[in-house]
């Protein structure tokens, strides 16, 4: 299982990457593995306001429906429209082409409170 060192994580298996002031969000390798083949993704709209831990979207696989939660609160400034037609990118490249959206945080401190790679790894192994 791949857990990149330079990312932050949530206990709900989202990853977050700080890019200048914005935060790119996706699902972890552990999450995509557990979901199985992703066949549909519901993304937020650009401009939507999200709160930390609140609903960000939905991913559906051949076997289940799962909620995605916002790692940080803020405004959605970009979404990965390619996932609409190719949601399998979440499986094939969870930390790259499978990204979900970019959030402009309203409270920058929230990113720092996310779990680091070592913490996430131990969480998935417990």
């Amino acid at each position: 299982m791949d857990v990149p060192q330079d990312l932050r994580y949530t206990a709900d298996h989202e990853w977050a990457r700080l890019e200048d002031s914005a935060v790119r969000v996706g699902l972890t390798d552990f999450a995509q593995e557990a979901l199985g083949d992703v066949v549909f993704v519901q993304l937020p709209s650009v401009g939507a306001t999200v709160v930390r831990g609140g609903e960000l979207g939905e991913v559906e696989s051949t076997k289940s429906v799962s909620q995605v939660y916002a790692p940080v609160g803020g405004t959605v400034v970009e979404v990965n429209a390619a996932l609409t037609g190719q949601p399998e990118r979440i499986n094939t490249d969870p930390y790259g082409e499978g990204w979900l959206c970019v959030i402009e945080p309203s409270a920058p401190g929230e990113f720092e409170e996310l779990i680091d790679a070592a913490g996430y790894l131990s969480l998935t192994q417990s």
Partner: protein
Amino acid sequence: MTLKHSTLHTEHLELGARLVDFGGWEMPLSYPDGTIAEHLACRNDAAVFDVSHLGTVRVEGPDSFELLQTSLTNDLNRIGPGRAQYQHLLDETDASVLDDIIVWWVAKERFDVMPNASNTARVISVLGGQDVTGERAVIAVQGPRARERLATVSPEAAAVGHFMVADFEFKGVSCRVAGTGYTGEDGVECAVPSEKAPDFWRAVVGAGVKPAGLGARDTLRLESGLPLHGHELGAGITPLQAGLGWVVSWDKGPFRGREALERERASGIRRRLRGLLAEGRRPPRRGDAVVFDGEALGVVTSGNFSPVLQRGIALAFVPPPTAMGDKVEIALRGSQVGAIVVKPPFQHLKLEGAIS
């Protein structure tokens, strides 16, 4: 509760299978390539499924024919020894389908009855017979190239005709094969004694047949419009509601549940199972409402993503007047998605013009 394991459990673990509890058995849900790859392998080439969780109940003796003929809905006189038949076992009082079953007519006074995993005890309570489920593995080899690939392992098994039953030998043990399956593709199901089942499985996989789990088995059967007991069949659901009137032989005389089913036939069914093709990829799910002109009049019994069509598909109970081509909406977790009433198998539908 302790989960039962197939005799192929070690093989599944070695292949990296993700396991799932199904009807009291821990069975492969998928292998590392995933459900969709397994599904497409079965549609385009060949896939192999461990379906050892299906029951095998051996019913034999001079009364066995009459017992099955009066207990089950279909007419055994339409077939004969060496053939297989799809059957329903009905509830006496309301004609609910207690189980849907494939009967392998092995010899004149000998039948191998194959119930669903969780219904084996129920079937035995009606038919009696001996539960031989634990003595064998059942290995389904399915797909357009299934026979060609299986022929390198066992030409005899690969040669069994559609809905025919035959014995064959593998490494010195006697096995049984039927030209049946649950994928909508050509193929066979092989009952192999436990001691040789791992060898047989390995040989089939070695012949280039892709291992596939229950996830793909479910998407394949749904895409082909085949019912799953507990979803499209079960308590309160009759063969007529499920659109499976052909499984009921009205001209064979008495059978269990016949009177109740006759009453429904006379009064008319209150709902009918139909296929729904959704507008987009989002999978409908069991329990989603089917909305007709703003009124929720139907319900999804099974829904998922069709890997062939790349669309959401479903089986649903709808009011009987519903016709092919009718437009409906499916209430999908807060949003409504357009869908069209279609006749499965879904994988053969031509999408152009199906949804405007």
